[in-house]
Symmetry: C2
Subunit: 259 residues, 2 copies
Amino acid sequence: MRSAIEMFPRQEKLSEADGPQYLALRDHIALNIEIGRLLPGSRLPSERQFQSEAGIARGTIRQALSQLEAEGLIYRRDRSGWYVSPPAITYDPMRWAGFMAYVAEQGRVPATTTLEKSIRPATAALADIFRVAPGASLYEIRRRRMIDGRSVLVERITVDPALAPDLLSHSLDGSLTDILKSEYGVTVARNRVDMRPCALVRDAAEALGVHSGTPGLLVVRTSFDASGRVVEYDQEYWRHDAIRVHVDLTVREETIPPK
Amino acid sequence: MRSAIEMFPRQEKLSEADGPQYLALRDHIALNIEIGRLLPGSRLPSERQFQSEAGIARGTIRQALSQLEAEGLIYRRDRSGWYVSPPAITYDPMRWAGFMAYVAEQGRVPATTTLEKSIRPATAALADIFRVAPGASLYEIRRRRMIDGRSVLVERITVDPALAPDLLSHSLDGSLTDILKSEYGVTVARNRVDMRPCALVRDAAEALGVHSGTPGLLVVRTSFDASGRVVEYDQEYWRHDAIRVHVDLTVREETIPPK
């Protein structure tokens, strides 16, 4: 475990540092990640190793690790310890590219697994969104999406069967938007995206293999066709360390309203 | 406590419902919030009341409440129980309005408190952002912002003194962008916004009065002037139930690149 031992800070150095000791340990580990001594996916030394090799108190180690977890730099795997998080994927809600496209563009490998396809009666909320009668049949698709083999989101997609009859007989392990376009001639003219931070609990937490209560991001996308009909209603639950939302906005001539 | 008792579901009804009982209780409480029987800011019956008045098992009650908390519909106040969350504010990163403006536009009352103003040596990361030497002096401002009297975010703003000498002598309890414009003639031409879900820990959690580990949203805004200099670097930690990010995107002629 030479590489692991190298990464232990010297107790004296931590004590000399400004501010609380856990922050000095946090900075030390973060630096090891930054300079590539600890690679994405690699396992951190155990709390016990930190304690015995570097002589740091257990409480301090836990504080530092939970700070790094909060920042999304490291994550826990059940019973096997702490690992360096892979880099987050960048999602730009101002672009039209779907998951399969923007993940691949960033040099990563996207994958989709369909967990469940069903026909369900519309709840009051969904009836309102799709402008159908409450109780009307709607398609519901549950999928899990992965980046480089790691589960990053679970989603629940609702589609009106009137727009895409027999949709559930298709393989849905790719881009749904592509299937709607190629098989049904339905194209998206408007996207409304709502995002809110949330806690991942129960079903979503279980499907993503995280502890219930882990922070996440709920991304709700409502896609409309040119006539204003809702084409797709998609609720995505992301694990918090897998996504970074990026928007770049420049003052342009066109922001001045035309005369 | 007539109104509270009215909101208790009938045990038989929960048992008849589809799916797990905690979800039926969750739906029942969510409905009470939706129809306005439980108003924002009002206190929920205690777990004991739910247990004794409606005869629901403690574990089921807790599951339902933590589900509602994860969704941001209710929140805990230390030692005084569960309350209905005020509506989240909508933040549109494609607009230029600042906090004081967009909160007021939504009929809410914004407020800002400066917690700390200091001059600090630039860390490696900040030196890189501001293109100054590591260790160069930078202004750091810590503020807390409130909506209708409730703390919703804490932020750490960094400004280069070269751009705004003597900035810290001003009152910073309003819009910093306005001060930079009116006092120093510095205007923003480009905004880069990065958002990632996080856990609120230690300092941020304490300043917002939430438990360490509560989900939050980190919004990092980098503002540039027309010459590309960084004007403001702002790291905002939001409580998760206070913010909803909204982006609305329509296919327009102008998305076709000009010839």
